[in-house]
């Protein structure tokens, strides 16, 4: 499979995530769009790791394994981020009874 296909697929997924963050005002949907972006990056990392492996496998048997380890750590960080972020959203909801991020502009005034 040409690695170009994976690049364009990941770019499209990333762009969809960006559009979601730009047009949605719901904090929970925000988070979901961030997850889409993280997954697009993960997919590209795995594709590049396999590309690297295909090139370098003759010299080093484990070439390209670092990319997949990075994906694993990105998943770890994403899980931690989501647990803290959702706790913040729950606290926000408890204080303002809404998850609309337009209510979060108080630092402006």
């Amino acid at each position: 499979m040409p690695v170009n296909y994976y690049i364009f697929l990941s770019l499209a997924l990333f762009a969809i995530g960006i559009v979601g963050v730009l047009i949605r005002r719901n904090a929970i949907t925000f988070f979901m769009c961030i997850e889409i972006m993280l997954n697009a990056v993960n997919l590209l990392l795995v594709a590049f790791s396999k590309m690297h492996h295909a090139k370098q496998a003759a010299t080093l048997a484990t070439a390209g394994i670092d990319g997949q380890i990075f994906v694993f750590f990105i998943m770890v960080v994403a899980a931690a981020e989501v647990s803290v972020g959702l706790a913040i959203i729950v606290m926000l909801f408890r204080n303002v009874h809404s998850v609309n991020v337009n209510f979060l502009n108080r630092l402006k005034h």
Binding site: M1, P2, V3, N4, Y5, I7, F8, L11, A12, L13, A15, I16, I18, V19, G20, L22, I23, N26, I28, T29, C33, E35, I36, N39, N42, L43, V46, F48, S49, K50, M51, H53, A54, A57, T62, A63, I65, Q68, I69, V71, F72, F73, M75, V76, V77, A79, A80, E81, V82, S83, V84, L86, A87, I88, I89, V90, M91, F93, V99, N102
Partner: protein
């Protein structure tokens, strides 16, 4: 057309359509369900790339744990369509335009990249198997692995502190006043 190519196109269309539906659906519960479909499609891509460990971890951690957390929070808040704020049509158009421009620029920049003839091997290679990944994780990457456990501990403590109900406002105010005095 080989079976790998058919599977690739099917999973790509599924992932893109589901991602678009995540953004488009008004009800957050439907967004979460579409997002689970995105994760399954991406896990399918990992399987095609023979990264079996990551495919399973993606399903367990993302589709299993994180999405359940999302659903749990949404159900807890009882969010439905009625309290979804009204959206400005022009603002939406501007957002879609901005995202489309980003996509256009990136695709135009990478269209003629040197990677055109390079192949990402599918279905072969054993670096994605749990044996090799585990070996690398516990030899070369053992320090980051341990640090990530500390990260999880701090995330857990942070979530508990944030989610804890504060003591009733009048007693909190009193303690604040007394400390001011």
């Amino acid at each position: 057309m080989s079976i790998t190519l058919i599977l690739f196109w099917f999973l790509s269309v599924l992932a893109l359509f589901s991602a678009a539906m995540v953004v488009a659906s008004k009800n957050p519960v439907y967004s979460v369900l579409w997002l689970i479909l995105v994760f399954f499609a991406i896990s399918g891509h990992y399987l095609l790339l023979n990264a079996q460990f990551l495919a399973i971890v993606n399903i367990i951690v993302y589709a299993g744990a994180i999405m359940v957390l999302f659903l749990f929070v949404i159900m807890l808040m009882n969010l439905n369509k009625s309290n979804e704020p009204k959206r400005n049509k022009w603002l939406n158009l501007a957002g879609v335009l901005a995202g489309g421009c980003l996509l256009l620029v990136l695709v135009a920049a990478l269209k003629n990249a040197e990677t055109k003839a390079t192949l990402a091997e599918t279905g072969t290679g054993n670096i994605g198997l749990i044996e090799n990944l585990g070996k690398a994780l516990f030899t070369d990457y053992v320090v980051p692995f341990e640090i990530s456990s500390v990260l999880f501990l701090s995330a857990m403590v942070g979530a508990v502190v944030l989610g804890k109900k504060e003591s009733s406002p009048d007693t909190a105010g009193q303690s604040g006043k007394s400390s001011e005095k």
